[in-house]
Symmetry: D2
Subunit: 416 residues, 4 copies
């Protein structure tokens, strides 16, 4: 079996911490795998990597340790049973040698404000130098841990939107921008994505930051045979939206307004409290409706920082719709989920499925992963059930080809 490593951008955040703690817990048989899509029967027989076998590491712009992050997460959110945490607390330290200093280059004031002061020098370096530093981090991680595959996942705070220019569509121009140190044309997420693809690492953008998988980098991934996918993990309110909006479509009920109010109190909420970062998030959350419905109802998405909630995202949605003879009716929902607990198993799913795609030599975007993202790149289906069906169809194709392969081997064997 291949040995798989994962590098997180934002390795000290709640999600990365939960992924690492969860993988260690599962290894010891503690805690439920609920929330992991790849634990469903459909995915049996694909030789997916076991969560407990993954080697973790990553970058962060803050000081700290996974162990301290886990302690803070638990202190602020009475969620995970103490037995589970007691069991793995020591082991979290094993990640420490795989942690690298990250970059917040051109990520806006809200993220810069989180940075460790020592990061300043780093930020003055040229873009090319920074890319080289990230690539050598990846190489070090791979070599130190003797890994066959390294997957990079962006879990960092949401950056402000990057306005796309022609330069972002052309790989040569992107290379020039790096050489000419045009920091205004990239964000930190661009540097990470470039470095990952250059190092032959599948790359997953779990955030709304559009600077990561710009068209030029997607081309590069296609050319280099590296699977990549994004944007923005679909964990809560938008997940419900993509399940509910089709109801109105298939009943021919006209949505008049769909208003969403989100409150949360973790680091994600704090960064999103800054209008320029919030802008990225609302874009990926808000465009879904029109794509499912075929028309654009009055709709807005609000995100507010409420510290006392910490990781408990609470979302109220009010859906106003018109039925027969113009009568107005409504559906409301209230979602109360823990962001990191919802995201972590999906991150493990993405690791497993990206490794599968790589093993099968699939370059570029992975549209079969559309159901995992709020704004899936290259995907034309936006209803949750359609997206899930795409994933199942993909998996069945893989299984058939494996079986065909196995049969062929068998036949050959018999011949011999």
């Amino acid at each position: 079996m291949e040995k798989v490593g994962v590098l997180f951008i934002g390795a000290l955040g709640y999600i990365a911490t939960t992924v690492m703690a969860g993988a260690l817990a599962l290894k010891r048989g503690a805690g439920s795998r609920a929330g992991m899509v790849t634990d469903l029967n459909h995915f049996a027989g694909l030789d997916l990597v076991e969560p407990g076998e993954i080697v973790f590491g990553g970058w962060d712009i803050r000081e700290g340790s996974p162990r301290a992050s886990a302690a803070a997460f638990l202190k602020n959110n009475q969620l995970v049973a103490r037995e589970i945490i007691d069991a793995i607390d020591d082991e979290l330290d094993s990640v420490l040698p795989n942690l690298f200093r990250g970059t917040a280059r051109n990520c806006g004031r809200a993220i810069a404000g989180l940075s460790h002061p020592g990061a300043v020098d780093n930020e003055c370096a040229g873009l090319r130098e920074q890319v080289d530093k990230l690539r050598s981090d990846i190489q070090r991680f791979r070599e130190n841990n003797r890994l066959d595959t390294v997957i990079v996942i962006n879990l960092a705070s949401t950056e402000p939107p990057l306005v796309l220019h022609d330069a972002h569509h052309d790989l040569d121009e992107l290379e020039c921008s790096l050489d000419e140190n045009r920091a205004d044309l990239v964000r930190a997420s661009t540097l990470y994505a470039y470095a990952a693809v250059a190092e032959d690492c599948p790359y997953l953008n779990f955030t709304p930051s559009n600077g990561a998988l710009i068209p030029a980098i997607i081309r590069m991934a296609e050319r280099e045979g590296v699977p990549v996918m994004g944007n923005d993990g679909k964990t809560g309110e938008t997940l419900v939206k993509s399940a509910l909006a089709p109801l109105f479509l298939c009943r021919n009920l006209e949505i008049l307004s769909w208003e969403g109010f989100n409150i949360l109190g973790n680091m994600d909420g704090k960064v999103l409290d800054d209008p320029e970062n919030k802008e990225s998030k609302i874009r990926t959350k808000d465009r879904l409706l029109g794509k499912i419905l075929g028309y654009t109802p009055h709709s807005s998405v609000h995100i507010n920082y409420v510290p006392s909630l910490d990781d408990q995202k609470t979302a109220w949605n009010f859906i106003h719709f018109k039925g027969f003879l113009d009568v107005k009716m409504s559906l409301q929902f209230i979602w109360q989920g823990y962001d990191s607990i919802l995201a972590a198993p999906l991150v493990l799913d993405l690791v497993r499925l990206a490794e599968l795609a790589r093993r099968h030599g699939e370059p570029g975007l992975m549209p079969q992963l559309a159901s995992f993202f709020k704004a899936p790149l290259g995907a034309s289906r936006h209803q949750l059930c359609d997206q899930f069906q795409m994933l199942i169809d993909y998996v069945n194709r893989i299984k058939r080809s494996k079986k065909a392969l196995a049969n062929r081997h068998l036949v050959r064997g018999e011949i011999v």
Copy 2:
């Protein structure tokens, strides 16, 4: 174009009233067709009957008139614009000659309590006499209005469940039960369904009453070439359930409990306030989850009569689920819809699609209509999106066969 008539069981109820008033309004261009599934583009080109061209009639056990029912509905529910109602008020009287005295045979005390006293003699008649009376009502309706097709739709109050015996599975035994006047083996809905199929009328059971489409009558429909379908129109809470439950399934989130509380104040609510009638309803509402999820979480459905709400059904659902590392989270929804406004356009859809099925000579159950029912007979798919896809696939098949037919005609024409 064929001339189509519809007979409602429960012709003075809110739903029948809304269907009739709505069809008249649409004919005058007043009011929106929202909520009519067959108004979606998919259904264009099928020569479906226009709502405004349908001739309406039906049975009821209460005294009254459609006009009085419409006035009562409007008085209790400020819903439909006065312009719409003013426009059609007079025309509602045109239904009067098509109204017949109904039967509440063996329907339980709650429904019997609604009966007009004059109905008593009627109830003493033999079962065979009653069936003959219903058949002659259908014949009269057909002849008086020169109809090509008559469709019968059960919109009556929910009966208590009928315990199914061997006798209900065999058509000969059912005939015997009628001859031997075994009133304990049938409910009113059985007599109506039998009469409809015997008169070659497509029959739709929009209620949870399981006495209507018993296996023997489904066999009879198959033999006679009559399309039938049921049970229980899916208008609100269960509709949302069938859209939301797949979310948990495809995210591998384990549902711990799904509790539903419904409050409503119309006649339906009043009858369901009686435990024996409520039993039927809860059965069709409650079994869905297990069928979608593949396991049966703790779940209960409560229905309470709250007169002040009249037709405004309000449902609160609390969904408790378990995610990664055993963490519990929740989703709640609050549905506020008007039962009759939601049901009426679906009734029009069912009329149109039953007429289509009949025109195409399809006998017995119509599984393509699964998405319209809480407990669709003969259907194996319970997720809303799958059910809708089944309908679209069916429609596309019909269109292709029409096109093929048209092409053949064209070819023949050319040959000649």
Copy 3:
């Protein structure tokens, strides 16, 4: 009995329309008085003016008629029974001769945008001219209708906050500002309030606009013996807040966060969609909590314009609180009320109680009316039950003094 007239600022708005239509309906015995506080038993025997006896008029910056406003209100909100409206539709025209062209002087772009183009010249006039025009409108209304008392009520759209200077605290300086045409120091509401008090008319500010009852005008009211009160009618979310916040106080449960999201679609919502106008509203809504609790929890109030809701204000509040051993819990509420239907009876209450205060010769602020306002001027009690008790205590004092007076008259009568 005294003859009472009421002039509305914003006479074509939903609230004024509902007040006028409601008063006419009550006169004919149609419709419930529910929502009128002064209809409670406590208020019997005070000779309060009958709603049906009030003469209505007012100012507006838009073109139109009360009848057209009523029709628009009904078209957009299926609320009031058609019998009620049919009964009074004609009579609404009787208000037409009492309508005057209003002013939106220095009210911000959102309100100016509503103005009729003909209003432009008017806006160029000097402040003193404008005040004189308003005073002559009042005089005309009083004389034409032979009124003993005229009460002025501000129901106009919310203005942006007025930054208070020393000039606003001193009546002489205010007079200078008017003479010197310092339009930057006043808003339209200031001119109306000044004119009302100068004409000996009790003045009620049902809006959050703080330009109306500036300290200088309150002094003027005290000096001239005119009762005045404000600010901002307490009709929905804040009403619930003032009833619920004491629960947490008296149970020693610490409120961590209280987040409020309001959506509405009427003219009020449209104007509040402009950030500078919204600012006024949020100020009166948001300060209540600290005043009740004695500490200031994390709290925010959001207002969003959702046109499809029209007058149906829907508010979701999430209250996060800490209990024993630091455990966090929550209370949520969803308020669905019709703003105009809630406000109109309170406006009638305020007319009746302002007339009572005037009859009893009470000058200046009316703290007994604190329960009617979000930010009651001169009030130290903010819990709803305390405020209501203040009103009952006041009414009982009046009753006792009336009784004492009656007894004295009786004694005198006997002497004679």
Copy 4:
């Protein structure tokens, strides 16, 4: 300072466990006192007993230990920080010597089902024997721990309602019933209450069981000078009701329907799932509205057992009300609180205030404690704010009398 002991009926239940664990935690400075009413400033200077100084004990019909109960509570509800529990875990064992075998005499099948099999013999004993056994338990507890005051609090599962006869109104007849072993005339709670009062112990009924403080026992308490109070601690839904209902009253908004749905999964929920026990609970929850409003709207209270929620009581209330011109509007609330976390600090409050009442020689009912109970005995005020004011007034009276006493002492001192 007096030494105070508390005996719980239901000493192994969640509430008793939380009270004991909480008191130990507070003693060590861990955990917040939020939720304790007597921690408010009003109560300073009354020499109330410190929670950490109370000696705990009690009866239960189940086997177990406080430590095991605390572990089960924590396992099922991730609520209290592990530091808090780690700190006091050992000390919980100190309660063990104060635990006695309880009785479930005539408490219905649901409670009997919880009983330890060894309890059977006990149940065969005569009533008088059982009372004597309970009295000797109290004596033992008092002597072993050298207590000045022992307070008995009923935290046991809800019994079915006891139909009150003349015999329950007369103390002599009650004595006869005990002597004649008329088990049908008493429930376990009656025996406990009798024993407590006979042993001069203040008694508090935190449950809805009406068999406890029957009129004869209240008379006995008055005669013996023992303070007693009940029934049914007001911790959640009813607490909110008593704060919200006055809003509608003082705004003259007519409540049409008030429907409450409660779901919970702890032992309380399990016992209440039995219809005969539920009956008691619903009675105390449901009568409040009429008492506050002066009329009785359509109202029902539902309680359902949902195991996955364990101690997290979730309640949805739908309040339908009528406003001006008969327009219907609604308020909904969703309460999510932990029953034991809400109840425990109130139990500590009741201990402190019952000890205060005893110290001041107040016999019989304690109406000043009305705000703590759903159905406060002898209380005429049902609005939460009025009830709280009663408590503050009482406390102020006590303070004044203390001050007067102190002054008198001072004066005497000076004289000497």
